[in-house]
């Protein structure tokens, strides 16, 4: 398993993404969708991720739609290439960007 998942009692979900987050992760990432029911907040931790591609952006967009607008989705710890790509794609308008890392 490349992707880690944990859910706290308060409904806060934390998803740890792999070093290389690309198309090869799609099946595993998709399997998370059904585990997000009841989530109040989702944090996508990119602290250890050093590369993302357009497929990764597509997965993040689908996840954003799946959880609905009432759930806050935070992208934490992005730096380097992932941060450049997320900024270029204006993801700050869709996600809460927290460069300090997952809390």
């Amino acid at each position: 398993m490349k992707i880690s998942y944990s859910m706290r009692d308060n409904g806060a979900v934390q998803i740890g993404l792999p070093v290389r987050f690309d198309f090869s992760c799609h099946a595993e990432f998709r399997s998370l969708y059904e585990r997000l029911a009841g989530a109040k907040q989702v944090t996508l931790d990119l602290a250890t991720t050093s590369y993302i591609d357009s497929a990764a952006l597509g997965m993040l967009l689908v996840l954003r739609e799946k959880v609905g607008s009432t759930v806050t989705v935070q992208i934490a710890g992005a730096q380097g290439q992932p941060l450049d790509v997320l900024e270029l794609a204006n993801f700050g308008k869709l996600f809460v960007m927290n460069q300090a890392g997952a809390r």
Binding site: S54, A55, M59, D84
Partner: protein
């Protein structure tokens, strides 16, 4: 005046002296005029050159300004290079996102399709088990009808029909399996296509965007530097032009020298006349006073470009 007076110079000597003084005065005056002409020409040319340089620099600045404004124009938003390039990069990124997002949705649909296909396969297996069971039942029925003889003839027809249905079910199941295999192959190919569509390296877009921003920042810096250098050039040229305006002072100084020369020549001429008339001693105080006045009289009282008073006009 008498020729026998030894204190008086000879009349012919006085005339020669006056003529020599006249020639000296005219020579000096012509030198002064020549100096004024040469100075005026040189300064005029320098001023012309400075103004030419200033005009050329202004022209170059204007051209560069037009180029930078074509890149950075804020007057017509969207029409300049900066806006167009940013819009192009943004459009590329948004298109990539749409493809990535769409590909992921296709994959989700394909996954559901795969699940449904698995259900079909499972159902097919059940059908095949039923067909096998039906065949066994038909076989047993035929054994029993054979044993019953004529009484079992009618039942044998049913047994044959059951076997035929079981065979048909097996054939249909095989067809379904074949179709399912085709569907799975199609799903696999579509998945590969979705991967190709979805997987774009974003580094090219990121680098293009960074290069674009760096280029725009560079052009901004060039434009600011141009404005700064233009102001410096204008100030320096203005200083140079101001410095070269000493032509007027030079002209006035030379005119003053020329006038003084005329006064001195006039006094000397009167000295000769007074001497010839034997009245030199008597007229000496007045002649000395005139001579001093002629030399002291000054029209330009300036020793540098930055201080003093000057009757320029």
């Amino acid at each position: 005046m008498t020729l026998s007076d030894p204190a008086r110079p000879a009349a012919s000597g006085m005339q020669a002296l006056q003529a020599a003084l006249g020639r000296a005065y005219r020579h000096l005056d012509s030198e002064v005029q020549r100096a004024r002409t040469l100075g005026g020409d040189a300064i005029g040319r320098l001023l012309g050159s400075f103004r030419g340089v200033q005009l050329s620099l202004l022209g170059q600045h204007q051209l560069l300004r037009e180029v930078t404004e074509a890149i950075l124009s804020k007057e017509q938003p969207g029409s300049d290079f900066e806006s167009s390039a940013k819009a192009m990069v943004n459009e590329f990124v948004q298109e990539t996102l749409r493809v990535g997002r769409g590909s992921m949705s296709i994959l989700e649909g394909l996954a559901r399709l795969n699940q449904n296909v698995s259900h079909i396969v499972s159902s097919t297996e059940q059908i095949e088990r039923l067909a096998r069971a039906s065949k066994m039942i038909a076989l047993n029925a035929r054994v029993e009808t054979a044993r019953a003889g004529a009484a079992g003839t009618t039942f044998n027809v049913v047994a044959v029909e059951i076997k035929r249905m079981a065979v048909t079910s097996t054939e249909l199941s095989a067809q379904i399996r074949s179709e399912v295999a085709n569907i799975r192959k199609g799903v696999e190919e579509t998945t590969q296509t979705a991967e190709v569509l979805a997987s774009h390296d974003m580094n090219v877009a990121v680098q293009s965007h960074k290069s674009l921003m760096a280029a725009i920042t560079g052009v901004e810096r060039v434009r600011k530097q141009l404005d700064l250098s233009l102001r410096e050039i204008e100030e320096k040229v203005a200083e140079a032009v101001q410095a070269l305006q000493f032509e007027d002072m030079l002209t006035q100084t030379l005119d003053g020298i020329s006038a003084k020369l005329a006064h001195v020549a006039e006094v000397v001429h009167d000295v000769v006349d007074a001497s010839a008339a034997g009245e030199l001693e008597e007229q000496t105080p007045e002649l000395v006073a005139r001579l001093e006045e002629a030399v002291v009289q000054d029209r330009v009282v300036q020793s540098s470009m930055v201080q003093g008073t000057c009757e320029l006009f």
